[in-house]
Every structure is written in C-alpha cells, then in structure tokens.
C-alpha cells in the first residue's frame, strides 16, 4: 500500500464525500484527495467478503427472531464500511470494534461461534483477542477509542510496525472519550485510524440532534489531525482511505479520522422498533445506495465479475449461513465455576469460599 496520503493540514474536509464508485455502479468524478481506486482483484475480494457478511447478518438476525440469540445489533447496509476498513488492516495491526461490528470480526477471521458467544449469552468475549489481534467488542460507547490510542502508543514506543483501527458510531462521537482519544492520538502522533460509521442514527436519535456540525469529519481539524469524509457505502473509497491512513500511521505521521457516511438498514437491535423514529421511505431511499449492488455492477462492467463468480460467492455465503446455524445449534458448555476463575490473576481466599457455596448448591441440585 503506497498510496499517497492526503494531508489536510489546517483545513476542513471537502464537502462532497470521497467516492470512486457511485450508486449507479459507475466511476464518479468526485475529487478524492489523492486517493486511488483499489485494483479489480482487491475489489473482487471486497465484494466477496461483503456478500458473505451480509448473508451472515441476515442469518443471525433470523436466528435472533427465532429466539436463538438474546440480542443482536446488525450492520446490514454498512458492509462497505465494515469490510472495507477491516480488510485494509495488516495482520499485525489491531482492531478495536464495537457491538455493531460482528461483520468486522468475521472479516478479521474470528470464528462464527466465537463472535456470537456474547450475543447468545455464553461469555462476554468469546474469542482470544491476542489470537486475532482484535480487542473484545466494546459496549460502553467510545471507550474503545482510547484503548486503540493507547495500544498504538505502545506500538510506537516499542518501535513495532503496527497500527490500530477503531470503529465508532455517530452517537458515540458525542461522548467525552471520543474527544480525549482524538486529542491523545494527535498529541502523541499514534498510528491510529478512527473509522466513524455515521449511520445517521444512535438508536432513535437522528444525526441532526447529535451534532450541529456540517459533518463529523470536521472535528479532526480541531485536533490537528487529518479528517476525511467518504461515501461509506463505496467500499473502494473506504478501503483506499483507510489503507492510506494506516500507512500514514505506520510511517509515523499520526492518526486520521475517517467519517463513513452510511445507513443502518435494520433496527438498532432486535428489541428496537424503528417505526417510532423513522419512516420506511427513508429506508427505501437508502436502498439505492446499496454497497453491494453498485460494486457488482461496476465489477461486471470491468469484467472482473461474471455470473459464475457471483454464483460461487453466493454459494459460499450459503455455506457460511449453514455454519452459523450449526454453530447456534450446538450448545456451548459453560461451567458455572468459571464465574470465579478469571476475576483475578492472584487467587483470593474469599472467592474460593464463595465458590464453595456455589459448589454446594450445584451438588444439591444434582448439577455436574
């Protein structure tokens, strides 16, 4: 990745979101601040991954309706931001996701069952962060932006060739932690990329009640940090912007804020009722900006994609969906004694005593 990094200096991002491939599947003539469109091969990979994660989201949402998971926040509609940003990461980089970013976890290689462990109530974080170079998904909003900054600072101090990427939402952008992370990252010049998925809503609260700024990317200037606004449904733009920003970070040039304009097609989680705060026309309107449709059109034009590849990918998606169903059909074995196992590195007598209470109860109940 040697794309030239757009240096915004002391200026505000261009008003028009950076985009390569328009909603109609054709190349746009939007200025792209020095970014270049990824190769067809890269784009085909991104297409494939977007199809997979969309199928994943649909399958999980379906299982949630059946009551197989307690709760699930789907990123349907946001595949370009999820996949484009995550794919740009190098293996050594670390990802700091939120509850919304299961698609990113999947893209990062975390096994389905380990992603879903949290949502079906097995354990808080189902995977090994060190194995996937991926932090546990954060539920307390914006807190992870600081973790990403600190991790990157350590990488910088140790001279590691690693950057960090963190996702956050338009709602989370209002939390104090976000501001502190932007500021620490910029003062310390850490290799951190903040990918702000502006999906227009924080649960029911629309963007215009979240900020009075023209765009959230305008925040960056106040920290002396480059800020970009990209069409978050154009995976080519997201990938190019994030890749360049990661490269910038690794080169010692500090953090970048990238606002991805997108839309949450589903409800906030399955227990949400979006009809209370938005009308179906708005949802319909956003359908025309679908990230997958446009890329498929584009890649068919360039010839990178044909019917058979599309069919092959669709089949892979079905295989993935089946594996999701399988994973959810297998009940995880959770030993109640694990309540006590991971609280401290140094064992505590009083906790062992409490475990005895539980053991006695388990024995009385005939529990294994």
């Amino acid at each position: 990745m040697t794309i030239d990094v757009p240096t915004t200096g002391r200026s505000l991002p261009q008003l028009q979101p950076i985009s390569f491939i328009g909603a109609d599947g054709r190349l746009t003539d939007t200025p792209t601040e020095g970014l270049r469109i990824p190769s067809d091969a890269t784009l085909t990979g991104l297409y494939r991954q977007m199809v997979l994660v969309r199928r994943f989201e649909a399958q999980v949402t379906h299982l949630t309706r059946q009551g197989r998971l307690a709760t699930y926040p789907s990123a349907a509609g946001q595949e370009a931001a999820e996949v484009g940003a995550t794919t740009a990461l190098a293996p050594n980089d670390w990802l700091f996701p939120t509850y919304r970013d299961s698609a990113a976890l999947l893209t990062r290689g975390v096994p389905v069952a380990e992603i879903l462990a949290a949502f079906r109530g097995d354990w808080h974080c189902g995977f090994d962060p060190h194995e996937y170079h991926t932090s546990p998904a954060a539920t307390p909003l914006a807190t992870q932006t600081l973790h990403a900054t600190g991790f990157a600072m350590a990488a910088k101090l140790k001279g590691e060739d690693a950057a960090t990427l963190t996702f956050l939402g338009d709602g989370a952008s209002s939390e104090g932690d976000t501001h502190e992370a932007f500021n620490f990252a910029s003062v310390w010049q850490t290799p951190t990329v903040f990918v702000l998925q502006n999906n227009q809503y924080a649960i029911s609260t629309p963007l215009r009640e979240q900020t009075n700024a023209t765009m959230l990317a305008d925040r960056a200037a106040g920290y002396g940090m480059p800020g970009l606004r990209v069409d978050g449904n154009d995976v080519a733009a997201v990938f190019a912007a994030v890749a360049a920003a990661l490269e910038r970070g690794r080169n010692g040039d500090g953090p970048t804020l990238i606002e991805c304009l997108t839309y949450r097609m589903e409800s906030h989680t399955n227990s949400d009722d979006p009809t209370k705060y938005r009308d179906s026309e708005e949802v319909e309107h956003w359908k025309q900006f679908d990230p997958i449709d446009r890329l498929e059109k584009y890649l068919r034009t360039t010839g990178a994609l044909d019917d058979s590849t599309v069919a092959e990918i669709a089949e892979a998606a079905e295989t993935l969906a089946a594996s999701v169903r399988d994973a959810m059909n297998t009940e995880a074995e959770i030993d109640p004694r694990e309540l006590f196992a991971h609280v401290y590195a140094n064992p505590r007598t009083a906790l062992a005593e409490q475990q005895q209470v539980l053991e006695a109860e388990l024995a009385a109940a005939g529990h294994a």
Binding site: A118, H124, T139, P140, G176, A202, Q210, S271, F340, E361
Partner: protein, 357 residues
Amino acid sequence: MSVETGTDPTTDQTAVNGETATAASARDDAVAPSSVTMTKALNQALRDSLADDDTVLVFGEDVGRLGGVFRVTEGLRAEFGSNRVWDSPLAESGIIGTAIGMAMNGMRPVVEMQFDAYAYPAFEQIVSHVAKMRNRTKGRVSLPITIRIPYAGDIGGVEHHSDSSEAYWTSTPGLTVVTPSNPADAYSLLRESIASDDPVVFMEPKSRYWMKETLSLPVTTAPMNRAQVIREGTDVTLLAYGPTVRTALDSAEAGAEHGLSIEVIDLRTLSPFDDETVSESVRKTSRAAIIHEAAQFGGYGAEVAARLTERNFTHLSAPILRVAGFDVPYPSPKLEEFYLPTVERVLDALESWDWEL
C-alpha cells in the same frame, strides 16, 4: 389489590403489597383500578409531574421519539412537546452536567441513564456536583434533579447491562437513593423524588419493569425515606429492595413451609436508611439477613449489617447475614442463575445460623 403475572418470562412470580392498595383506594380522584405495569406506573408519574409543574423537564438518550429503550417515557414528547421532553446528544456527563445548570436556573430535570453502567461516565458530575452543590453553597443552591437509572440484572442482558451500582451512590453524602419494587411505589416514589428539593438517584429494577398490579393511579404509598414491613413474621427479618423483594417474599413463603416465620421489609429508600422501622423489626425477630444482587464485598448490605449490629447488638441472636451476588463482575446471561441470590441461597444462609443461640 390483585397482582398479575407479568408478560415478561422473568417476572412470572407474584408479590404482595397491602399498604399500597389501601393508599390507592383511599384517594378520591383515583380512576377505576386497572392492571398496571411498573413501566406504565413510572410513565404516569412522569406525565403527572410534567402536567403539574412547568419546571419539570425530561431529557436523555432516546427518551423522546422512542420513549426510552424500556418505554418508560413513551408518549411524553408527543403530549408535552419537545421543549419539555427531548432526546439529548449521547453523552451522560453532558446530560447530568446540563441538568445541573438547568436546576440552577429553576428547573426540575428528570434524566435517564440508559443502563446502570452508563451512568459511570457521569460519575464526576454526580459525585462532585450533584451531591455537593447544596453544601458547597451553604444551602443557597438547590439541585432538584432526579436521575433515573434502570438497574440490576435477571433479564439476560449482555455485558455492562446488568450492574447494580447502588453502593456507589449510597456511599456518597448528599444523594438520596430510592428504589421501588412494585408499580404503586414506582408511581408514588417517583413523584415524590421529582418534587424533592434534594437530588435523587432513582433506581428502577429492570427485571420488575413488566410486573403488573391492579391499581388506580394516582396513588400515594408510604413516604420516601420509609421502609415498609410487607410481610409480618417473628423468627427472622429479611431485608430487600428493588429486584430482591420478590426473592425475599418467595423465601418467606418457602420458609413458612419449614415452620419459619419470616418478616419481610422492603427498604424502598436506601439513603437515608430507615433505622427506626428496621431496628424495630430486628429487635423483635433477633435475626436478619439482607438480600441484594450487587456483589457482597463493599455492597450496600455491608452498611445495613454494620449499622443494624451497632444499634441492636444485644438484641441479636446471630450475625446479620448478607445474601448477595458473588464478588465477581456480573456474568453473561447463561451464568446469571448461578450468580443471583435465589430462594435456596437465602434459606441455606438462614440455616447456617446457630439456631440454638
């Protein structure tokens, strides 16, 4: 008053609160009794407070159009307009901090922290300002703010959605901490909290949100700051609040089958503590246990046990026991049942006493 089974699977038990029924039927302006959930009672308390007092304001995350993630504020924005009820930007310190400013300017803000653990970003504003403003200013500045916090677990929530943070607030001088366990109290205590010139942390037990009572609103139950004996007994006093009141009543029922006469007290207000009511009961029974969901170590039960022992030592036949969550972070849904204090754990604890003393 009859109590119906809630629609929520976690609330399929019954609770009895004779006092509130009496109070309800005593009111002239009471409408015909109907089946009321706790969320509905809270909603009506907010509606009536907004209607009675122009200075009452309701704001927070998603409390407007959506009516809150638990629907406690449903319909209020439509009824009172977005100048009285509105969605704020997503920032809890911002919500509490601006509520402080509004209260300084004569308003009575009622704000919602969406889940218990999401009050933590506002901790500094609550502890350093909300709790202290009156004292800092020699009583010249009042902050009549009500901070509504849905708390506790037992609803299968993912991590950070089931905390019981009451000990943080009760150990902070300057705060009043209230928690209802049933719809009638929810209504009455919330109205009183909003009317109070002291800031109130109003903790709503999530697992009881869908509990139903047949009841006429408005209703006035026992005053804030008073505990209530909700079941009489002679052998043991069980103290509970919010979500564990049901556990206490069930334990009393189960204990009765073993010939144990258990008195149950619903604390209702955690700070101040109603020493009078509780000590009287403990002196009668000579044995007491406090039940709560929060971890035991440093939990609210420690204060209860310590002060009851200080005040009633010679009347006690056994140490005050605490039946609480284990000293671990609140677990994921599949382990909730092993973490939460159950009727069995309560009865086992009572059995652990030396009954010969």
